[in-house]
Subunit: 411 residues, 2 copies
């Protein structure tokens, strides 16, 4: 069973407002086993709306429409549906009475203009809107069931769940899962799960690169929610088995949450010592609610004085090896761990660029220190050479070394 | 001139991700006088993409496409465009060399799979992507000029402004300027420049709310680049005149760069003391290249011990007033300024939520301290109550207080 979602409004098509209804409805449909195959947005243009309705009704089993049901001159969805059906608009007295009651309830009298909201194309039925004055419309057009809903998100959501979802059930279910990965590029990750990503497979598996992480998306369809969940679970397990340590976390659990979870499990605390990342590691860690349970704090040691004064890095070490060096990274991590009395401390010192690079120390060179009870390790990386990406990759890489150490893996 | 915008991706059509590119492109097109009449989203389905391309190319003068240019099996936009054109994919050796260079620069070798990203349908031309590995494609299909861009927002925005916008205005030139604003909401900012924002004006003026800032976008069309620049410059000056201190910076100069510029002018140094923002202020400041000239570093005093040990906040103060209090914010800023020997220090302590709020100290309560040679000021704010937004707004507000202080304004 396939669905097409239409959203109507000049403010949407011109980009002055962002359409969130279509994605919301697509998710709700997916959970009922109905696959949204297309979203389409057109402006407040009666001919364009009618044409979009006709095309959608010829290509899908279900057409969901949001917007253009208001009482003003630029609300034309109702009329356009009548045009597409070749029908007249007729008054639904029951809805009119409801709308009048809503206005009375708000201590207002209904404007004549609002009467249009109680009209539906002959042959269609109107759907009550418990939260607003614009009722919805259910109609048959071409081979499709068409449902028109108001554009106000909470009204349309309630009406979908109460009036439309019940008519669509029995279509099975779709369950979406995400596996967040780090440590290799998108093409490398994809290569590791190539067969799972073949087109037409169920569950469908895809990858997305975003904010320095690679996410493997799993969408499983089943006759029941349970069946879809089991299918998704099996594929998620296979993805994790194949990707091993590259798989950081599931669903809401991105890098900072995964590290937090491991720290919590180990009842361990963390402190951070950042130079070129300037606070980004702390920002990522504390983006997780409850991180105060394991994160004590950190030092942004951007200048060399701060490295010496707050992290007890010996001045001679910086003079001898430079601030961006293995030994300074180690001293920063150890000084930070001692200073905060933390079980673990991570440090980052590097050259984010665009300037400051040299022959032997190029832009993108980053040393990451990790100090724990068992000792200190330092890793050297050459990261992509744009400032933002160096910093983000350095921060995530530091957290990834910690993650692997907490898992008892060789970082 | 009419445009249709296509976005490609299973994650979009299934509602797992929200398409912001289409609205963004519609706004940019509008600023050039090109009306977006339809947005359409389809999944990673070669036939569906080809059909959508063919239909769009028959109905519009310009078709903009985002997504599906990656190296993996579910990236099919390139192949679908070739199908719609009835053409073969051919290798663009220049782009291949560029992509290989990008990978080398990152110290990685390019996977064979990435070669596909350097291929274009015969008869089409590829467009350089200065920020990523997926080049764009420009082609003629039906009556339309088709431009395919990667789905990564900052990549596609840059490519639109640099490669596509100039082609949409024929021989003439389009100059884009941005005025970054902070301190009032989007509708208040817009109200202050209402006439400038009237439709059909040149330069076209629009507003965008993003990452806690309001950006006024100015797009000037002229017969020559010089003419467009002059037009843009005059409007930018008028926007700044009307918005006064709300205008933070121009173009690349967002809040951190504007503050950095002022610190540099004053030959002053800065240190930061962050609690609920967890390092975000330091991260924002150090996102600007060369910030080591004025930023000494900071302390992420997430736990109370860190506040006392590293920032010399008296334990009694925390016991008496709580960690989230005016007096602790002041002590954090003063302790930080002393500790780093900085001219200025900003401090933030607050309740980011979702838990930890109370009757008299709700989630969103933030105290911002600002210590300078002339003394210390503390500002109390109640910020929007979602964790991410509280943190971002708190960080930007702290920087804005510093900005106004550096300008000798009442913060």
């Amino acid at each position: 069973m396939k669905a097409i979602i239409l959203s109507i409004g000049d403010e949407l098509v011109s980009g002055q407002a962002l359409d969130t209804n279509s994605a919301d409805l697509a998710r709700r449909l997916g959970e009922l086993g109905v696959a949204a195959v297309e979203h389409r947005t057109v402006g407040d243009d009666r001919r364009a709306i009618a044409a979009a309705l006709t095309a959608a009704a010829a290509a899908a089993d279900v057409v969901l429409v949001t917007g253009g049901l208001g009482p003003t001159a630029d609300d034309l969805t109702r009329q356009a549906l009548a045009d597409a059906m070749g029908a007249e608009l007729v008054l639904d007295r029951e809805r009119l009475a409801e709308s009048e009651a809503v206005f009375r309830g708000r201590g207002r009298t209904m404007q004549p203009a609002n009467r249009i909201q109680a009209m539906v194309p002959a042959g269609a039925t109107s759907m009550p809107n418990p939260l607003g004055t614009a009722p919805g419309i259910a109609a048959r057009l071409g081979r499709a069931d068409v449902y028109v809903l108001p554009g106000v998100p909470h009204e349309m959501q309630r009406m979908f769940d109460e009036c439309i979802a019940p008519r669509l059930v029995g279509q099975g279910a779709v369950v979406h899962r995400r596996v967040h990965c780090f440590g290799k590029g998108e093409s490398d990750i994809a290569a590791g799960i190539a067969e799972l990503m073949e087109r037409g497979r169920n569950p469908a598996v895809g990858t997305t690169a975003s904010a320095g992480m690679i996410t493997v998306r799993v969408a499983a369809r089943g006759a029941s929610r349970q069946e879809a969940q089991d299918l998704a679970e099996r594929t998620v397990a296979e993805v994790r088995r194949r990707l091993g340590n590259l798989a950081v976390g599931l669903d809401e659990q991105t890098m900072p949450a995964a590290v937090g979870h491991l720290l919590r499990q180990a009842e361990a605390t963390l402190a951070t010592a950042e130079s070129c990342t300037g606070g980004l590691i702390g920002e990522l860690i504390t983006s997780v609610a409850g991180s105060s349970d394991y994160y004590l704090g950190g030092v942004v040691a951007y200048g060399n004085d701060a490295k010496c004064d707050l992290l007890a890095v010996p001045e001679g070490l910086i003079r001898q090896h430079g601030a961006v060096s293995e030994s300074v990274a180690a001293a920063m991590a150890e000084g930070c761990r001692k200073r905060f009395g933390a079980d673990w401390a991570v440090s980052v010192t590097g050259i984010a660029g665009p300037s400051g690079g040299s022959e032997d120390k190029p832009v993108g060179l980053v040393y990451i220190g990790l100090a724990g009870a068992a000792g200190t390790q330092v890793h050297r990386h050459i990261l992509p050479v744009t400032r933002d990406i160096v910093r983000l990759r350095a921060a995530l890489t530091a957290l990834d070394h910690l993650r692997l150490a907490l898992m008892g893996q060789e970082a």
